[in-house]
């Protein structure tokens, strides 16, 4: 992707570890996040995403490991780090009894902005986040999406160079999610570095320059979305047939195909290009086999996750197709 590797790092971390009692939450995390990029930490619930954010944003101390945020040591220079970052956590951190405007002014005052500047930024953010109409209403009356927007706006009052977003769209409806995504993209255009955690593969795919997959406190893969997709087998085209005879006929024409008698489908390896699809359709035409439907399957990050962990991203044991190959520890 477009991020140059020579850009100075906004965040570097080396060997971050954290345990709560016997439970190892982070088991040695190394990260390098270039300035002005969006980094997504992707993983299921309980993987350690929030703990990573809490450590890097100075909320909790790591058991071991080092990190530099905006060039400052997260332990020795915690106060400098706090001046350089903004954090929007997973649980909304707005003051319910204050109005949207008062919440933003509170942030301006706590950041020691001159009154006029605070008012200017407040008006500006209300406008940009489409909250002007709700400016005089208390946050307690807000919908989930509005609350999340206000939360992010509060983080932006100080214009921090690095922003941590812990699951910024969890629990939002699709429309609010799109709005958040646009707001996040805007920020990066202005040079902000974003550290994002998410359990949505699509979100990481949509937003992030670099993605790291976190599972049981360890990074199991890292790279751009495209690099990660290359880690897994290619895509395929899936043809659905009306009966077994048609399926058999098609299977005999397409040499390298996997047929499934039960679901009456045929999987043909494909890169999903139009040339390739046309070739497949041409073959069907000439052999006069009729396919009921055709679906193109390109690998997405779900496949990456499944391939790397041996199980789907949900941690629900009922959905486990088979146990992970690596030994549990």
């Amino acid at each position: 992707m477009s991020t140059s590797t020579t850009a100075p790092a906004a965040i570097t971390a080396l060997g971050l570890r954290k345990s709560y009692g016997d439970k190892v939450v982070l088991d040695g995390i190394d990260l390098t996040i270039p300035k002005g990029s969006i980094f997504a930490l992707l993983g299921p619930n309980g993987a350690g995403k929030t703990t990573t954010v809490e450590i890097l944003s100075t909320l909790i101390a790591a058991d071991s490991g080092k990190a530099q945020i905006a060039g400052y040591d997260m332990v020795e220079q915690a106060e400098r780090v706090r001046k350089s970052i903004g954090v929007t956590g997973q649980f909304s951190a707005v003051d319910n009894l204050l109005t949207a405007e008062e919440n933003l002014m509170l942030m301006a005052d706590l950041n020691h902005l001159p009154k006029a500047e605070g008012r200017r930024r407040t008006a500006d953010l209300l406008e940009r986040f489409d909250l002007t109409e709700a400016a005089k209403k208390t946050a307690a009356t807000f919908s989930g999406g509005m609350r999340r927007k206000l939360d992010l706006a509060m983080t932006l009052v100080a214009a921090p160079g690095i922003i941590f977003l812990d699951e910024p769209t969890t629990g939002l409806d699709p429309r609010s999610r799109r709005i958040m995504w646009d707001l996040i993209r805007d920020l990066v255009r202005q040079g902000t570095t974003i550290f994002l955690t998410t359990q949505y593969l699509e979100e990481a795919d949509q937003l992030a320059d670099n993605i790291a997959l976190l599972d049981h406190g360890k990074l199991i893969a890292e790279g751009t979305a495209d690099e990660l997709k290359r880690l897994i087998p290619g895509g395929h085209v899936r043809l659905q047939f009306a009966d077994a005879a048609q399926l058999a006929a098609a299977a005999s024409v397409f040499g390298v195909a996997t047929s499934d008698e039960e679901s009456l489908t045929l999987q043909i390896p494909s890169d999903g290009s139009t040339t390739n699809l046309r070739a497949i359709l041409d073959v069907l035409d000439t052999t006069e086999v009729h396919a009921e439907s055709l679906t193109v399957h390109t690998p997405d990050l779900d496949d990456v996750f499944l391939t790397l962990t041996g199980r789907p991203k949900t941690d629900d044991p009922a959905h486990l197709p088979h146990q992970p190959k690596e030994s549990a520890r």
């Binding site: 100075p8 300035k35 809490e54 944003s57 100075t58 909320l59 909790i60 106060e79 706090r82 001046k83 350089s84 970052i85 903004g86 954090v87 956590g89 649980f91 909304s92 951190a93 707005v94 003051d95 319910n96 009894l97 204050l98 008062e102 509170l106 005052d109 706590l110 950041n111 020691h112 902005l113 500047e117 208390t138 509060m154 983080t155 100080a158 214009a159 921090p160 160079g161 040079g191």
Partner: protein, 274 residues
């Protein structure tokens, strides 16, 4: 190579930042009180009920028992009101535990903790706000007491001394309750925690002379913090012996403040999870 960020404000000196941040937080808490008056009303209602109950319902009977035969209801009012005033200061502090714990459980505390804010500012804002709230309620209750027959016998200096001690008490109890609020798991438990504080004055010299109590309770009444505070306020407002009680009262208030401050701040620096 530094990219220009908009990050504002060169770091001011620690002390002035601490005061400024605390005042910002105080403004926030005063807005809370305006938006959520139910809390203020509840801390008015309790001492008011006790005042009316003890004057009009029990007053006639208790008065003679406590102050000897031949005393009237009016004499008892003068004995009782300083005790009720101390109870008012105590019950007002409960609100601090609730408001501090609400911040803690609603997650806004984590926002504050990731910002470059003076560490004690959020708590100081709550405690100062609560102290102002309690002071206002104290003025109201004292005014009502005068309206129903309380006739203090105090000079201006004695009034000021009594007011100063009561505000100090409110401050100390607020810090203690801030500690309770920060260390409580839920807002419900935070609101129950300080309840004994509001009843403790009753097990002292607030409404009756402890000499009338059984010996175990009398011993407790003598050494618990509210008795010397009560006796000092009563001595200042009504005249009469204060003795060591003044110093003991000040020591208790200072001790409560320091312990509460330490306890609350320790939890503030540790707290993370919702």
């Amino acid at each position: 190579m530094s990219t220009a960020t908009l990050t504002p404000a060169p770091a001011a000196s620690g002390r002035s930042t601490a005061v400024r941040d605390s005042l910002t937080m105080l403004r926030r808490n005063i807005k809370h009180m305006q938006r959520y008056p139910a809390m203020t009303i509840s801390i008015i209602v309790m001492p008011l009920l006790f005042l009316l109950l003890f004057v009009y319902v029990f007053g006639g009977a208790i008065g003679t028992g406590t102050l000897g035969p031949g005393t009237t209801r009016d004499d008892y009012i003068n004995y009782l009101v300083p005790g009720i005033i101390v109870m008012t200061a105590a019950s007002g502090a409960v609100a601090t535990a609730v408001s501090v714990c609400t911040d803690k459980t609603e997650g806004i505390i984590n926002r504050f903790r990731t910002m470059s804010i003076s560490r004690g500012a959020m708590l100081s804002g709550h405690v100062l706000g609560s102290t102002i709230q309690v002071t206002a309620v104290l003025v109201l209750i004292t005014g009502l007491a005068v309206a129903i027959g309380f006739r203090p016998d105090a000079s201006v200096v004695e009034w000021l001394a009594a007011a100063g001690l009561l505000v100090f008490l409110a401050l100390g109890l607020s810090w203690l309750c801030a500690g309770m609020g920060m260390n409580a798991k839920t807002v419900e438990s935070a609101s129950n925690g300080p309840l004994p504080l509001t009843l403790l004055p009753l097990m002292g010299s607030a409404v009756v002379d402890p000499d009338s109590m059984p010996s175990g309770l009398r011993w407790f009444a003598e050494y618990q913090p509210f008795t010397p505070i009560n006796e000092t306020v009563r001595g200042l407002l009504m005249g009469g012996e204060i003795g060591n009680n003044g110093w003991i009262a000040l020591a208790w208030c200072a001790g409560l403040s320091l312990f509460g401050y330490w306890w609350a701040l320790r939890a503030y620096n540790k707290t993370v999870k919702r």
